[in-house]
Structures are given as structure tokens and as C-alpha cells.
């Protein structure tokens, strides 16, 4: 949900000629200024024989700071964001590299080991087919994270392109795109996802292809709000003086778009980051309901289905609590990072 932007009443202030000299010294030979009384400079007793050239200010000129490097420094200072990043990195390692260390990766059905509680050989116990829960958790992590990222990339691409087109070209294009976005946004998301998920089940698409379809689905349904956001950014950016300057210089469309995109990038980055979190949650809901990623492909969402049986729910919490916790922690970490990015990229905070 986006609240209407508030006009903060900033006026463009044109300063009448400031009498104080803030212009840096010109790169020309220095000539001693005449004093106020019009006389030349008379060396005072003890003054150096020839007038000294004013040296460069004694302090170091601060390193030229691009907005990106400033943002990077500020991000580094945000402890929670850094923590989030480290956790995410750890989670990636866990999911993608972890299985390499596990002796249970084939996921063979082992009837003798069904439903064993956590022990030394199976740190998180085994599930209803005798598979090691920890390994499945790691493998599921791969899927869930992958779905999250790919969906986000998809929605950002579609949303950003459409948003830029709408905001930059206005007119009919804008109208069409925004109407389409409106329609899609008015329709409640979860019912549609569920229904399409059900349709997919009926069409009996194989478990592997399901993943891709799920990615497409989640990604595609998220583009309207992104497009809206990008469009409103573009709309406000194109009125800014620097765009007017670009126009006055006679720059081509492509270069102007580049300017716009670079300025819209910070918001986009933040939204994209948080979008991964949303996508992961969406996938988990779908899979939990049996309509997203289906077994045998593991995903954190469908591992949680174990909670649906009363016995598993009550007596075997090791089946469903770990995936839930995994989702929870990953999403928190993403949120922390996204929030940190927002603070770092936003020039308003003054600390």
C-alpha cells in the first residue's frame, strides 16, 4: 500500500548575489588585491618580503564522495543491517554449500528411520519417509531462496520497465499501464495465487517445472505495485532541475532515461530487497497450502505441511518448527538489510 506523497512545501530559493566569497581561487596567477583604501599592499614590518600566495586550505580536502560511497559507509555503521547481511550470507552457505557436507543428500526413503527425533546422527531428526530433516532443510533453502530472488528479479524488471515507460512518456502509454496495474492491484492476491496454483495441480505439471511456474507467478503478480512506485519516482524526478538541464542540453531520450534510472535506483534497490522477503513469504504460503512447490522437491513452505497432521503437530515439532524458523530468520534478516539500505541511501537522516 502506498500512501499519497506529501508536498513538503519546499521553495526553490534563488540567492541574490552573496557578498561572501565562496568561490574557490581561480587557476590563474595570483595578484595581490588592493586594500580598501586603494593603496597597494605595504609589507608590514616583519612581514615576509614578497606576499605569500595563499596556500590551499591546510586541512585535507575531503575525498570526493559519491552518493554510493557515502551510502556504503553509512550502511557499514548500521549494526543491525550488517548483522542481517552476515546472517543472509550464512544462510546462503548453509543452503547451497551445506548439502555437500551431508551424507544424506540422496533423500532415499529409509523405512527404518521414520520419524526419529533429533539425535547425534540426525541433528534435526527424520521425517515421514526417513529422510534427514536437516539436509532437507538445506535443500529446501536452496529452492526457497532461489524462488525468492528470481521472482523479485522478474517483478523488478517488469515493474521498473513499465513504470519508467509510464512515467516518462505519459499520455496513452501511461494510462494503459496504470489501468492494468489498477485492475491487478484491486484483485486480492492470495485467492488468485491459490486458484492458479490449483489449476497447476490439475494440469499435472511435473514437480520440477512447478518451481519455475511458481517463480513466474509470484513475480508477475507483484509488478503493479513496483510499477506504481517507479512511476511516481520518475514523475517527481523529471521535474527536478537536473532533468531540465538535461533537456536544455538537448540530450537524447536514452541519456535522460539513464539519468532518471540512476536517481530512482536507491528506492528501487530498497524495494527489490524487501521484495525478496515478500516473495519468500508468498512461496511459503503457497507451498504450505500444497499449491506451490510440491514434494518431493523440498521447500520450507511444504515442509511446514507436516503441521497439518495432528500427530506431527503435537508430537513431532522437529518436523515443522525448523522450516518455520528458517523462513522467519531469513525474512527478518532481509528486512533489516532492506531497512538499513533505506536509511543509508536516503539523504535525510543526519546522524
Amino acid at each position: 500500500m502506498s500512501a499519497p506523497t506529501r508536498d513538503k512545501g519546499n521553495t526553490v530559493v534563488l540567492h541574490v548575489a552573496e557578498s561572501t566569497a565562496e568561490m574557490p581561487a581561480a587557476a590563474e596567477p595570483y595578484t595581490p588585491p588592493k586594500t580598501v583604501t586603494g593603496e597597494g599592499v605595504r609589507p608590514y614590518p616583519g612581514a615576509p618580503a614578497s606576499p605569500r600566495e595563499p596556500s590551499l586550505p591546510r586541512r585535507r580536502i575531503a575525498n570526493p564522495q559519491s552518493p554510493w560511497s557515502t551510502a556504503y559507509r553509512r550502511l557499514k555503521r548500521n549494526k543491525m543491517a550488517v548483522f542481517g547481511l552476515m546472517f543472509l550470507f550464512a544462510m546462503f552457505l548453509f543452503s547451497f554449500v551445506g548439502p555437500l557436507f551431508s551424507p544424506y543428500t540422496e533423500g532415499r526413503v529409509n523405512v527404518a528411520l521414520i520419524h526419529k527425533p533429533p539425535s547425534a546422527s540426525h541433528w534435526l531428526g527424520t521425517d515421514d519417509l526417513g529422510r534427514d530433516v536437516l539436509t532437507r532443510l538445506m535443500q529446501a533453502g536452496r529452492i526457497s531462496l532461489l524462488v525468492g530472488i528470481v521472482s523479485m528479479v522478474l517483478s523488478v524488471l517488469v515493474g521498473a520497465i513499465l513504470g519508467v515507460l509510464a512515467g516518462y512518456y505519459r499520455g496513452l502509454v501511461d494510462h494503459l499501464i496504470m489501468r492494468a496495474a489498477d485492475v491487478l492491484m484491486s484483485i486480492p492476491e492470495i485467492p488468485i495465487l491459490i486458484v492458479i496454483g490449483a489449476i497447476l495441480s490439475d494440469l499435472k505439471i511435473s514437480s520440477e517445472y512447478r518451481i519455475y511456474v511458481v517463480m513466474l507467478l509470484i513475480g508477475f503478480l507483484a509488478w503493479p505495485s513496483l510499477a506504481r512506485l517507479v512511476r511516481s519516482q520518475i514523475l517527481s524526478l523529471r521535474e527536478r532541475p537536473f532533468m531540465l538541464a538535461a533537456e536544455a542540453l538537448g540530450l537524447r531520450d536514452r541519456r535522460k532515461l539513464r539519468h532518471l534510472l540512476l536517481n530512482a535506483a536507491p528506492t528501487l534497490i530498497v524495494v527489490a530487497t524487501l521484495g525478496v522477503a515478500r516473495a519468500i513469504l508468498s512461496e511459503s504460503v503457497l507451498s504450505f497450502l500444497g499449491l506451490g512447490v510440491v514434494p518431493p522437491t523440498p521447500s520450507w513452505g511444504n515442509m511446514l505441511q507436516a503441521a497439518n497432521t495432528l500427530i506431527d503437530f503435537q508430537l513431532r515439532p522437529w518436523l515443522w518448527i525448523p522450516p518455520g524458523v528458517a523462513i522467519f530468520l531469513t525474512v527478518i534478516a532481509i528486512n533489516l538489510v532492506g531497512d538499513g539500505l533505506r536509511d543509508a541511501l536516503d539523504p535525510r537522516t543526519n546522524r
Binding site: 499519497p4 484491486s186 511459503s284 523462513i327 528486512n335
Partner: protein, 318 residues
Amino acid sequence: MRQYMTKRILYLIPTLFGASLVIFFIFALAPGDFLDSDLSLTPERAAELRALYGLDRPILERYFIWLGNALKGDFGYSLQYQQPVGALLKEYVWNSFLIASVSLVLTWTIAVAVGVFSAVRQYSWYDSLITLGVFAAMSFPPFFIGLLLIKLFAVDLGWLPIGGMTNTGSQSTGFAYVWEVAEHMILPSTVLTMLSVGSLTRHFRANMIDVIRLDFVRTARAKGLKEKTVVYKHALRNALLPAITLFGLELPGLFSGAIITERIFNWPGVGNMHMEAIAHRDYTVLMGFTLFLTFLTVLGNLLADWLYAVADPRIRYK
């Protein structure tokens, strides 16, 4: 103002039409229908029923029939429950409304209080703690928190009932009934509140932080007003402005039924009904209900726009 609202109302119409198209076609094009899920029917009988219900007519025709009926208020007939969809909705929607409204009040109260507190004490460790808490609330998968709470409070501790709206087979009336419902309501409302309080708190906090930095707050301080006045009368009033629109957008949520939460707690609301309809391919119910929700969403948007104009004098006089 009138111009502003008229324009907005006019936009409603194409949006609703477009949405109805999308909704209808998604459901109609879905393979299979209600009759497929009833395995006891012979093919001939199924074909007969199809003709009876008009399910064998060309799609476009069905769309217009459906739309025409909908505009007259007739959302069709549920094949599963053997009731008109409208009546079905009415039966269940108020249960959903109950927990949704309680959750709404709680969410907003907590969000405003915590958001303002957190903003006024930005950078303190209160703020960090609250931020962490808020993120935790926002990051729970919706069903997970419900399951955890059930496990903790209902199963392990046994303090609260596991699910449903009343105790099974209960015949209580009057005050005892109210008490029973209230008891059953605690966990689902809590879950709903927890799920939405996070982002709203962040929103208020961010708004408040922005507003506190603005020039006019400095002027208010320079006038020697009490800090309380500065924060509540000047800063908060401005910070709440955009939130007013959010309030309008809560409208659809009140009636849409939290699908996941209701399922987990077995709460007899429209969300549950929704899931059942999906499972049984009762597309009439699905179409009608989704259209209803879309209508509410659009209405909610309209309400939000209107509220904003009412609250912010700058918009009013444009």
C-alpha cells in the same frame, strides 16, 4: 473537492469492469468445474447437470450473463452449498468481520503508540528494540505464528481453545455464548494483529521522524510551547495525515477474511468458505466473492482519497 471526487468515482467503473473480466476468465478457463469433483456422478448425469446450470454455453456468453446478474445483485448459485452466493456470504462474513475489526482496533492503537514513542526517542535503545520487535512481527510466515501460538497456548498450556468459534456441540446462549466466542477469538485476533502491526508501526514511525524534522516543529518549539503540545498537536497531526488514507484501505480487509488464519483456527468465516470453494471448484462462489472483494478494494481506495482531502487542507482547495 467535488471535482476531485467525481474524477475518482469515474475511474472506478473501468477498473471494476476490467477486474470482472480478469476474474471471470481466470475461473472460467480453469480446467474442471464443480461437477468434476463429485465423483459419484455418471458422465450422462454430469452432462445433464451441466446443461441445466448453463455450464456448457460459450464462455463469452457466460461472462455477460454473469455480469448482468451481478449488476442486479445476483451473484449466482453455489453448487456446493446449494445456496445463493449472496446468502452464503452473509452467513459467514460477519464472523470474519468480528475478528478483523477487533484486530484493526488493536493494530492501530498499538501502531500509533509504539510508532510515535519510537520516533520521539529515535536512536535510543528503546528504538532499536522496538525496531527488532517490529521486524520480527513482520517476518513471520502467517501460518507459522498461528501454529506456534496454538501449540504453546492451546496444546501445551491448555489455556485457550484450539480452534473453532464455539466449543463443539455447545448450545449456550446469551452471556455464556458471548464469553465462549470471546475466548475462542483471542488467538486468531492476536495473530491477525501481530501480522499487521509491524508494517503499520514502521509507517507511523517513519512519518513521525520525517515530520519532527520539519521547520514548523522548530517554530512551535521556538514559541515556547510545551513539548507535549509540540509532539501531539503539531507533529503527530501532520504525521497521521497519510495514515488516514491507510485507514480507508483497511476496508476490504475487514470483510475479506484472513484465509490462512481462519483455516488454522478453524474459524467459520469467509476465508474458510473461500478455501472450501477452491477445493471443490465451486467457481460461482469464487467469482462472486472475488468480485465482492475487488469492489470493496476499489471502494476502500475511494474512501481513502476522500479522507485525505478532508484531513489535509492543501488538497481540499486544489
